[in-house]
């Protein structure tokens, strides 16, 4: 125990003496939190909307007016021919082209039905899907308006039956994407910093030759490793704390659950990451190698965490792989505790899996650290 304290003391001295490292540990991640949380948005706004109005009727103008009124669409000038519209889309100047046929108004009056042509730039499939939904919403509201009008024209006595759905979004009523993203990004930052620091730490001592000096001392493997990792464990928890303060103050993300629960989960979670970092450190000879491998895992972990894309829509084999992704569990727990106020029982599955993961990873890390080779 005493020996471990000497190592902890030395590590903290080295960390705080390294003037280049401190901002990397504390300032950059928080900047990232502030910037990324504002930019990593799933909302599609400022859709460049154009049209080809072949009808020039009151109906067609009313329809275009509907789009103009929407905050999601920026209506740019209309085109006269399909060809012009196509070249504009090719250039990227417009995202949507709505084509209104010549007899739109006529058809509406006679058949109470009309066909519209819509072209959406779908290079970004997800954005195109969202755009499509927005367009349908606008058309639906236009339809309703029209129905009422048309019914007045005709002699039917029966009123049109309309079903109105009033969606209510639980846990994030205003669909504020920041509420959703901030906890997730905070998870990424805590993970990245602790993984990189621990991954590079022991390999750095290998590079400068001090590890050999340590290996000829009678120090026990677990004393050394605990002493090495403890400072990064503290740093991870500190980082989480500062991040939580920022998400409360700047982003006003609610914290419905208990802080004790969140911290007790995080303490175990960071152990998983430190174990992975140390494991990488043991199998590499230079900081460069360690960095590359850490990045490899980091990218997979991030993309398969459910933070940016829902895990439910991944293929089965990929869903299976995500079971081994610690970030997935942390993101789930963060969101559950912060946004839903989940209790310990609610996060028990994640808690147990993370605990198991921590035990396995650290056992592997201690086992793979060899004083003798």
């Amino acid at each position: 125990m005493k020996i471990t304290l000497y190592i902890i003391q030395k590590e903290f001295k080295q960390i705080f003496r390294n003037k280049g490292m401190l901002p990397i540990i504390f300032v950059l991640p928080l900047l990232q939190l502030i910037i990324l949380s504002n930019t990593a948005t799933f909302e599609v706004k400022n859709i460049q909307f154009s049209y080809i109005d072949n009808d020039h009727s009151t109906s067609s103008r009313a329809l275009l007016e509907k789009f103009n009124a929407s905050t999601y669409f920026d209506v740019v000038n209309g085109f006269n021919t399909s060809k012009e519209a196509e070249s504009a889309m090719l250039e990227g100047a417009v995202d949507v082209v709505l084509e209104i046929p010549t007899d739109f108004h006529q058809h509406l009056l006679k058949n109470q039905k009309a066909v519209l042509g819509i072209r959406i730039n779908a290079i970004d499939g997800a954005a195109a899907g969202v755009t499509n939904v927005y367009i349908l919403q606008v058309l639906k509201s236009y339809n309703k308006q029209l129905q009422t009008k048309l019914v007045q024209f005709s002699n039917y006595n029966e009123k049109p039956v309309t079903i109105i759905t009033i969606p209510s979004f639980w846990y994030n009523e205003t669909l504020n994407y920041k509420t959703f993203m901030v906890p997730g990004i905070l998870v990424l930052l805590v993970t990245m910093i602790t993984l990189f620091l621990s991954g590079m730490n022991i390999v750095r001592e290998k590079e400068i030759g001090t590890l050999e000096q340590i290996n000829v001392t009678p120090i026990k493997k677990n004393q050394f490793i605990i002493g090495k990792l403890f400072p990064f464990w503290i740093i991870g928890i500190l980082l989480l704390s500062v991040g939580l303060i920022i998400s409360k103050i700047i982003f006003n993300v609610p914290m419905l659950g208990s802080y004790i629960l969140m911290y007790s989960y995080t303490t175990i979670y960071i152990l998983v990451i430190l174990g992975i970092g140390l494991f990488i450190s043991n199998y590499t000879d230079t900081q460069q190698q360690a960095m590359f491998i850490a990045w490899f895992f980091m990218v997979i972990f991030i993309l398969m965490s459910g933070l940016f894309t829902p895990i439910e829509s991944m293929p089965n084999w990929a869903q299976f792989i995500t079971e081994f992704n610690p970030i997935k569990y942390f993101v789930e727990v963060m969101r559950m505790v912060m946004l839903k106020g989940a209790s310990f029982n609610d996060i028990l599955p994640q808690f147990l899996k993370t605990l198991l993961y921590a035990i396995v990873m650290n056992a592997l890390a201690v086992w793979s650290y060899k004083k003798t080779n």
């Binding site: 005493k2 020996i3 304290l5 000497y6 190592i7 003391q9 030395k10 001295k13 080295q14 003496r17 390294n18 400068i208 030759g209 001090t210 050999e212 000096q213 340590i214 290996n215 000829v216 001392t217 009678p218 120090i219 004083k371 003798t372 080779n373």
Partner: protein, 242 residues
């Protein structure tokens, strides 16, 4: 010279694939002896030393260091030896004092012992004025002397020195050897590799390693007689060129 053997090496071998870095070496070192372990670059000195200090496992053969078997009790050996590597291996970003405290601490010395030792050591090395300076800012010769003193902190029975005076000026080297003699006179066994043949003359006995094998082992005086030359330099050249 005491007859008690603190290092006993018997047919020690280390292979890296087909390459025999250390090939079947056998020798003994007595307590309090200054043992010079010579050899050209790549002769296998460092590999042999790493097996003796318990950070490399031998491919075959036996060695007993400070009463423990390197194959089975490497960790016990580590309590009883000090080691100073070719590369400077103290922490550059810690101060002189902090390095002493750290290494004293991980060898299990108490706070009080560390304090006493560091005062004594700083005085001896004349480093009192720079004790709060980062080690990185010290000249190489000072660093090496500090490094040697740190390897003696826990009063080891044997100290292994791997080219301790590489790149150090002659005056500091002389001073360094005074320190070695002082340690040896208090009963510490010194196991030292070097490329300086004048240093080889200071040793009680020297061995010369060529291509993984020990080609000669005796006192410098006897070696010179055997090969009928005037200096260790010539002994070395004769053996290595053979």
């Amino acid at each position: 010279m005491s007859t008690k053997k603190v290092i006993q090496v018997n047919k020690l071998t280390k292979n890296f694939g087909d390459f025999k870095a250390v090939n079947n070496i056998t020798f003994d070192v007595g307590k309090g002896e200054v043992f010079g372990f010579l050899g050209a670059n790549g002769a296998g000195k460092t590999t042999a030393m790493k097996m003796l200090i318990g950070i490399t496992t031998p491919s075959s053969g036996k060695a007993n260091v400070a009463g423990f078997d390197v194959n089975t009790h490497a960790e016990d050996i580590k309590k009883n030896i000090g080691y100073m590597s070719q590369k400077f291996a103290l922490y550059d970003d810690l101060t002189v004092n902090e390095n002493i405290t750290f290494f004293g601490g991980i060898y299990g010395l108490t706070r009080k012992e560390i304090k006493e030792k560091s005062i004594e050591l700083l005085k001896e090395l004349n480093l009192e004025d720079v004790k709060n300076m980062l080690v990185a800012s010290l000249p190489l010769g000072w660093k090496q002397k500090l490094s040697f003193s740190v390897s003696l902190l826990h009063n080891p029975k044997i100290v292994f020195l791997d080219e301790p005076t590489g790149g150090v000026d002659p005056i500091t080297r002389r001073h360094f050897w005074e320190m070695i003699y002082k340690a040896a006179s208090s009963g510490t066994t010194i196991f030292v590799t070097t490329h300086y043949m004048d240093e080889a003359e200071y040793c009680d006995r020297v061995s010369v390693m060529v291509n993984g094998k020990i080609e000669a082992l005796d006192t410098p005086k006897k070696l010179k007689e055997t090969y009928n030359v005037k200096s260790m330099d010539e002994v070395f050249l004769k053996l290595v060129r053979k």
